[in-house]
Symmetry: C2
DNA sequence: CAATGTGAAGTAATTCACAGCG
DNA sequence: CGCTGTGAATTACTTCACATTG
């Protein structure tokens, strides 16, 4: 295959890099904190520190959104909060459904970070009839039979899957068939979806495994190079690597 | 602890790209599934499909680990499972502590994906005295006062923070002071840690926000350009952003 | 001035495409 | 042959460094 692949058009107008999009929520969180403390303006340096990234990166990121800063001054916190929110689509209401109300599903339903950012839990859905009607986070759990109806009536386009791995694909198929076009998957499975549907996954054990890799590496290096004079560099982080300071991997 | 026990074969795995490391758990999961179905060998094409990545990428990734495949045949499933496990450090036992046994902490404690991959929940810790002694996932919750003792006695080097945001940094500091060098942070805060400590974060609302961004973009394009040029394959995304591959055909 | 915004340079990750081996 | 393993080409992301501007 690989014949006749659609070229990505060179149109740059709205092409915000994926890496930048992934950092916008981070900036938003830092800005919200500043806003709550009534800080009026912030420099790229300060905001970058608060978000845990490097300031040049932050300025470059913002440059994709437009010129929202003032030279010699910095950024207006409130204005930037609004601009980023708008860019992320958080100025509108996003009804979401959570399917699979086990421990994780319940945790998600109770998670405050959703409501505060434009996400509204429209319904909780579980396959267990015993769960039906039981309130979780103040919302009564509904049976899977109602799934299509719920999606339709609430205009849900984002679904969260927190079921066991075995049920995930099936649930996913039903969600998609009912009109959901974005899925956040917590089940440890690769979901197959038709074109035009976005899937993001969060795998709790994957993150731990990545930590274990670095942990093992640390132990190994400690044994080998007891010289220890590790480069005092990098207060930077984030993006993909470990959030904290990456132990100078590069210069060998 | 973290004594220099030379438990390390002369692997010359110096400098495996971070992006590759992040995918190894993915491959491992797919391979484990194949192993359970007693599939003896697998081609890069097949495994790539199962893991949701492209086959060239997968082969390149494996090439950093060594030459574990057989030309004309593929990879031996069992052997590859072992090699990746070893590379990730999963052939050893990793005692972890989970701090903050709310909904999320309980979900994590119950999460099967940990135990099956070399992670052992050594202790559950919570600041609420009322929780103390209560068993969650069969493990009695202990009070925060015991934190240092638990870390020390169990040789814990990986900690999971599932506390509210306000308590996270404080808990982090104590974990680090007690000897923890890798932290998985579920609290929506940027943690500051000394050099040599790794932090990875999982922010549930960030993932949703990224989905919202793409969702919004979808809606906008649908309205603007009704020209539907078929794009590429199915799910090729995972790790980072959604593939989408939406041709942003829109003049400025 | 001080701090943004951005070309240019540098680095990392992905994909291509095919030599070479079993 | 089929499929791996990998240089080379490509694309994406980051960082530098400084001209520009309020």
């Amino acid at each position: 295959m690989a014949t006749g692949r659609t070229h990505r058009p060179a149109t740059r107008s709205r092409g915000i890099p994926e890496a930048t999009v992934a950092r916008l929520p981070l900036y938003l969180r830092a800005l919200t904190a500043l806003s709550e403390r009534s800080v009026p303006t912030v420099s790229s340096e300060e905001l970058a520190a608060a978000a845990g990234v490097n300031s040049a990166k932050l300025r470059k990121d913002f440059s994709y959104l437009g010129s929202y800063g003032t030279r010699g001054v910095g950024y207006d916190v409130e204005y930037l909060v609004y601009q980023i929110s708008r860019e992320l689509g958080l100025t509108q209401d996003w009804p979401v459904v959570i399917v699979g109300i086990g421990n994780l599903g319940a945790a998600l339903a109770n998670y405050g970070g959703f409501a505060s950012r434009g996400f509204r839990v429209a319904a909780l859905i579980d396959a267990d009839p015993a769960m039906a009607g039981k309130p979780v986070a103040g919302i009564p759990v509904q049976h899977t039979d109602e799934l299509e109806k719920i999606i339709d009536e609430n205009g849900v386009s984002i679904g969260v899957i927190a079921t066991p791995a075995g049920a995930a694909q099936q649930v996913c198929d039903r969600l998609v068939a009912a009109g959901v076009t974005s899925i956040l998957n917590f089940a440890p499975t690769v979901l197959t979806v038709p074109d035009g549907v976005d899937v993001r996954k969060v795998d709790l054990s994957i993150e731990l495994q990545i930590l274990a890799f670095h942990e093992q590496r640390k132990a190994g290096e400690e044994a080998e190079a007891q010289a220890g004079a590790a480069a005092s560099a990098a207060q930077e982080n984030n993006g993909k690597g470990p959030d904290g300071d990456v132990p100078a991997v590069m210069p060998a």
